[in-house]
Amino acid sequence: MFFHKKLSHTITLHPSFLGPRMREYVTKRLYKDVEGTCTGRYGYIVAVVAILDIQTGKIIPGQGSAEFEVKYSAILFKPFRNEVIDAVVETVNPMGFFANAGPLRIFVSLTLVPADMKLDLDSNPPSLRSDDQKIEKGTLVRVKLSGTRVDATSIYGIGTIKEDYLGVIE
């Protein structure tokens, strides 16, 4: 789910930047530090929408660098357990298939795919087939997330398509 949230970040500027274009450096540093990052708490910070406030900088005693607390609003992408999300299939392998929903990678195990879909590894590309549906690279699927896992730089999802109204999207 995409959220629009107000966040706060502290930027430390080396004394050489404390001059006429200081605010510009602070905003550039904010974009560089924060956009594209991923945390367990906020999910993916996709893009900064607006800078709301840059507080007066505080010089760190003994160092000369200045600390600025910047308040900004951003688009966040965070997946939740039991959320239904649309995704694009990337690969099909003997264990199941991988699908991408933006920056989120979702794995759907074969055990969580309806029983009437059979694995066909000989086709090019490998696919899952049933009488009326086919899942292969590029297919759009509706997946329900049964869990998420966060590591240092990304979030992974585990999904299912075994319930009503899930699976291939026409």
């Binding site: 789910m1 893009a47 688009i75 939740f80 039991n82 509706r142």
Partner: protein, 156 residues
């Protein structure tokens, strides 16, 4: 500190009174659940965006990002995703969808899910967004979905 407790037959049994556990269990990822609308402290009251709204916002930034060669992987993947799955093509339609969803009793998360998934009937909506429950009647939900569907069909 041991306290004396008198047993039934007159004997005194010594027992310990355990201190009350004042430690509050921190909220872990496992306790967050969209089906029960438990999004955690940070997102419980946060504004949820429709995929189409995200598309408008990201496209507005595309030119300046491209010029500064600041296109990171997360941004490009998300832009591709929202362009593929966006249901509403222009800002007016998005405004009208939001106007349809606002007067209902639905939570922001549920409104955004309905706007993104575009269900055709109320059973599908209630199955995919189970937290809706009985917060809105079947007829109202059905009429809402039909209005959203016609907005999508007849948008410019």
């Amino acid at each position: 500190m041991p306290l004396p407790v008198t047993g039934g037959d007159g004997d005194t049994i010594w027992t310990m009174r355990m201190p009350k556990n004042k430690l509050v269990r921190p909220v872990t990822e496992e306790s967050l659940d969209a089906a029960r609308l438990e999004l955690g402290v940070d997102f419980q009251d946060a504004e949820c965006l429709l995929i189409s709204e995200v598309k408008v916002l990201l496209e507005a930034q595309y030119d300046s990002k491209k010029e500064e060669k600041n296109l990171d992987e997360v941004y490009t993947k998300t832009l591709e995703y929202v362009q593929k799955f966006s249901r509403y093509t222009n800002r007016d339609t998005i405004k009208e969808v939001r106007a349809l969803l606002k007067p209902t009793e639905l939570e922001p998360f549920e409104c955004a899910q309905l706007g993104n998934l575009c269900c055709s009937e109320y059973e599908e909506a209630k199955s995919l967004v189970p937290s809706i429950g009985s917060r809105i009647s079947d007829e109202d939900l059905d009429s809402l979905l039909k209005q959203m569907d016609s907005l999508k069909k007849y948008q410019g």
